[in-house]
């Protein structure tokens, strides 16, 4: 980390390459948010490694004045895991999309989360394959019409939050590409969390799936159709700040404060640090129109971190082992002399 005087500006994280995403693509905003967050976090260029797979979003590392590696489809989290385990001092950020992380890279995605490698994973979810020009993705809604589903898909989508928590994830947050302020906040929260942090960014593909998130991201409605969760604060949302969530039996229920005897005191208070996943899963799974879509840090729970545990175990074994060098090893155990 740098001292405040030497702190880099967000422009110091811009590389000399011109950004080649489509005009109006949500990726531009996310790039700005990441650069801003890294500046706020006091990062140095050389200590950051940005790793990606394949897809529109995965061009990201080329635009970052840091170490970067644009790898192969779906394998970003495996490569990022290798980088982090090899050198845990590095800040390792992984950039991925719904196809890269949840289709071809699904296996690596869940296992990275399960191990809890200290990575910050930004999952650009635009519910479409953009770079191959418009096929449905594993997050496209059932019935979605695309070039490979001209009559609508007949399969259910993954919900990234559900998958993350199901894979024993300890950090999951959600934000909207164009809400820079909130996105920067989420990235800083993710960076501060030790272990695998997943941020699902609802990202707009202006060419192949324009306005896919509009029902909830559109300014006119977003306050009524989303809820920004904050740890320790009641789950209140809406333009009038009069709607809230409470538990009705085992299910969440949307209520209006002041109606049917509901008071602010009845509203659930968000506990992102709760180890139990039940409520986090319910919050992560909320979908419009039945519920507001949850934004913010849904889950942030401390847990053992893989790369740190690897280091600790090495130290512990080195402390007690009689084998201190290669020479010790080859002379250990059964040997004999030929005279």
């Amino acid at each position: 980390m740098m001292s405040v005087e030497n702190q880099l500006k967000f422009t110091d994280f811009k590389s000399d390459q011109s950004v080649k995403w489509c005009p109006g693509c949500g990726d531009h905003a996310i790039l700005n948010s990441v650069q801003k967050a890294m500046a706020n976090l006091g990062y140095s260029n050389e200590d950051v490694a940005v790793i990606s797979g394949i897809g529109c979003s995965s061009r990201f590392p080329y635009y970052m004045e840091t170490y970067g590696f644009h790898t192969i489809h779906g394998r970003g989290s495996a490569i990022a895991s290798g980088v982090k385990v090899a050198n845990p001092k590095l800040k390792v950020w992984q950039i991925t999309g719904d196809g890269d992380a949840l289709a071809i890279g699904g296996n690596h995605f869940i296992h990275t989360i399960r191990r809890n490698v200290d990575l910050n994973v930004i999952l650009f979810n635009n519910q479409i394959y953009g770079l191959t020009k418009g096929q449905y993705s594993p997050t496209s809604k059932r019935g979605f019409i695309s070039k490979t589903s001209p009559f609508g898909t007949v399969e259910s989508p993954f919900r990234p939050g559900e998958l993350c928590i199901g894979a024993r994830g300890h950090f999951f947050a959600r934000c909207i590409d164009k809400d820079l302020k909130h996105s920067v906040e989420m990235m800083e929260e993710a960076a501060g969390h030790q272990g695998t942090s997943i941020i699902e960014v609802l990202q707009n593909c202006v060419i192949y799936n324009d306005k896919t998130h509009n029902a909830i991201t559109d300014k006119a409605h977003s306050e009524d159709r989303t809820i920004k969760l904050e740890h320790g604060k009641p789950m209140i949302f809406g333009k009038e700040k009069n709607k809230g969530l409470l538990l009705d039996g085992l299910n969440l229920k949307v209520v209006t404060i002041g109606e049917n005897g509901v008071t602010e005191g009845d509203i659930l208070v968000h506990d992102a640090h709760c180890e139990d996943t039940t409520l986090h899963l319910k919050l992560a799974d909320m979908e419009y129109p039945d519920f507001p879509v949850a934004l913010g840090v849904i889950r942030a729970v401390k847990a053992p971190v893989y790369d740190q545990c690897v280091e600790t175990q090495l130290e512990e074994v080195q402390e007690i082992s009689k084998i201190k060098s290669f020479n010790d090893l080859i002379h250990s155990g059964d040997t004999w002399d030929v005279e």
Binding site: I72, R75, L314
Partner: protein, 615 residues
């Protein structure tokens, strides 16, 4: 010891322990080989176990064997045919009878030859010796089960534990046959079962009783006498090919001052490398047991990007899965060693058997023009050397290297003269240095064409790598037509220039031999033994054995063209012969191929070479 009635003096002998996969034959064989090595014989061993962990008891598919070849002179293979077979049940006899040398000795546990076991083994009569026409052999019908029970009857052990000690009874008897001391095995038993004194006592007792049983039956049992070998002085240990590979990388990490990282997924027969390095946390090795083969190599590529000596280990099917990622390492020009312990293929094939059929996959099994260095080890112990050199080439030339071994040398063991690392060459890591001005990621060393390694954390060298083609000068993404051609050519040329840094091909034998035997990788022991025996018999043959496959040694053509007849021997359909044809099309290559999941036998090689000499 009493006077022995029949002593057979031998230069070398092959012993095979064979039984049910739960009979402890691997341990028995290992202990016997240690004792022989400590006695001063040169040894070579090979385990032969079924693919199933516990195949149906008493059946041929459940037979587990361990073969040891040891001698008064140097031995290069675990031997083709056995002098002594220990068969713990009829299935073991049935499976191995055809591998007996004429006049050999068979020690059979006759207690196991009940009707049920005979039927399971596929015998149709109640006398397997007659049925298999083994009348010319020394048959020692030992009631091993009964004798073991008798030996332990007053110890208060349960029946299962008693039956488990049968192998030590057999081992004791075999020690008598070869007049070997029991000291090492006793020490082992004491150490291994130290938490269970009763088991220690029981095993020591049956071992002694087995040995003494030899004295009782000496009138009908031949014993063998093999003098110690005249081998190079020094301190030795037994080493398997897989352990040798793991240790070669440890040595390379120490020499290069790099951290060793292994990303891997368990697969037969390569898993022991992963296990061995997992145990080496004391030497700082980071091992990542990945979710699949792809993550195995991808974590290694990540670690290489971050500045580690990065390795991934696998066998044929795993190499197929790693193909795309190897291409990434080719493009990003990052050092990585991919170890492929070859097994029988295609698909799942013969997982526990040996083959050399992944050569073309190693050379070409990727999309695009994707050159990598390919090196092959040729014995259990030189797997150490070639793992070391694979790491050295990978790092110094910033390239992926595929190291080929096979199930035969990976599981086989040989005595290894413990080296002094000071005698091994340095590994020079081409890291960037601060003096480099206007550095870019694809700036190259003019001689080797290797690029320089800038690892994250190094200030001023931030750069972006990736699978997309890069501009030769700036290192930025480039779709330029001429630049792509240039980069493709540079990547190939970089690999070819490794030839300037590897030893020349050496020929064993005379320049004017009538027949040049050519081999590569794990067939060396058999080819060399065949060469030696033929030469001894007065035939004019020579042997050229390859360890460096891509690039080939610079003098390869000059060597090959000297010979009128060349026969390329390999455990596949002729992949190396075809590769040589592609490189040196004006020469004629005969092929000798075997694809049975088994190594060559010296006998079949000699027969074939003799017929070629007569042509």
């Amino acid at each position: 010891m009493g006077k022995r009635s029949k002593v057979i003096e031998k230069e070398e002998v092959v012993v095979r322990f064979s039984g049910d996969s739960g009979d402890g034959m691997q341990l028995t064989g290992t202990l016997f080989s240690y004792t022989s090595a400590i006695f001063g014989n040169d040894i070579s061993t090979f385990p032969d176990y079924p693919a199933e962990i516990r195949a149906p008891q008493g059946t041929i598919s459940g037979v587990s064997g361990f073969q040891i070849h040891f001698g008064h002179s140097e031995v290069y293979t675990p031997g083709d045919y056995c002098d002594v077979l220990v068969a713990m049940n009829p299935a073991a006899l049935k499976a191995n009878a055809k591998w007996m040398k004429p006049g050999g000795t068979i020690i059979l546990d006759v207690d196991s030859c009940d009707e049920k076991n005979l039927v399971k083994a596929g015998y149709h009569t109640d006398d397997p010796i007659i049925e298999d026409k083994l009348g010319d052999y020394h048959i020692v019908k030992a009631p091993i089960t009964t004798l073991t029970k008798e030996s332990l009857k007053d110890m208060g052990l349960d029946n299962k534990s008693i039956l488990r000690s049968k192998n030590m009874y057999a081992l004791g008897l075999v020690y008598w046959v070869f007049d070997r001391p029991l000291g090492h095995t006793k020490e082992y038993i004491q150490k291994k079962f130290k938490k269970n004194p009763l088991i220690v006592e029981a095993n020591l007792k049956v071992l002694d009783d087995g040995y003494n049983y030899g004295n009782i039956i000496q009138a009908v049992t031949p014993s063998y006498h093999i003098h110690p070998a005249d081998i190079k002085k020094g301190k030795y240990r037994n080493l398997s090919g897989n352990t040798a590979v793991a240790w070669g990388f440890l040595a390379a990490a120490e020499k290069s001052n790099l951290k060793l990282f292994l990303g891997s997924y368990p697969i037969t027969p390569a898993t022991e490398i992963l296990q061995e390095l997992s145990a080496r946390k004391d030497l700082g090795v980071k091992v990542f047991q990945a979710e699949d083969e792809i993550a195995g190599i991808c974590t290694a590529i990540g670690a290489s990007f971050a500045g580690s000596l990065a390795i991934t280990t696998t066998s044929g099917p795993g190499l197929a899965l790693k193909g795309e990622a190897i291409g990434l390492a080719v493009m990003a020009e990052l050092p990585i060693v991919i170890v492929n312990v070859q097994r029988g293929g295609p698909s799942t094939g013969l997982p526990t058997k040996t083959e050399q059929s992944d050569l073309m996959q190693a050379l070409y099994g990727r999309n695009g023009e994707s050159p990598v260095v390919v090196i092959a080890a040729s014995s259990p112990t030189n797997s150490f050397d070639y793992a070391f050199y694979a790491a050295k080439v990978a790092v110094e030339h910033m390239t992926p290297v595929i190291l080929l071994t096979d199930g035969f040398i990976a599981n086989g063991t040989q005595p290894w003269l413990i080296p002094d690392l000071a005698d091994w060459p340095e590994i020079n890591v081409p890291k960037v240095d601060e003096g480099m001005k206007d550095w870019n990621a694809y700036q190259r060393d003019p001689e080797s064409l290797s690029r320089y390694w800038a690892t994250p954390g190094t200030k001023g060298f931030e750069h972006r790598l990736g699978g997309l083609e890069k501009d030769a000068v700036t290192g930025a993404v480039s779709h330029d037509a001429m630049n792509h051609q240039k980069m493709v050519e540079i990547r190939e040329e970089k690999v070819q220039r490794v030839a300037n840094h590897i030893p020349e091909l050496e020929v064993i034998g005379e320049d004017d031999a009538e027949l040049l035997i050519v081999g590569w990788g794990g067939t060396f022991g058999h080819l060399f033994t065949a060469y030696e025996e033929l030469t001894h018999e007065g035939h004019h043959v020579a042997l050229a054995h390859f360890n460096y496959i891509k690039p080939l040694p610079l003098n390869t053509y000059d060597v090959l063209k000297r010979y009128k007849k060349i026969v390329v021997c390999e455990l596949n359909m002729g992949q190396f012969a075809n590769y040589l044809t592609m490189n040196f099309p004006d020469l004629e290559y005969k092929k000798f191929n075997k694809i049975q999941g088994q190594p060559f036998t010296v006998v079949e090689l000699k027969e074939h070479f003799k017929s070629l000499l007569e042509e």
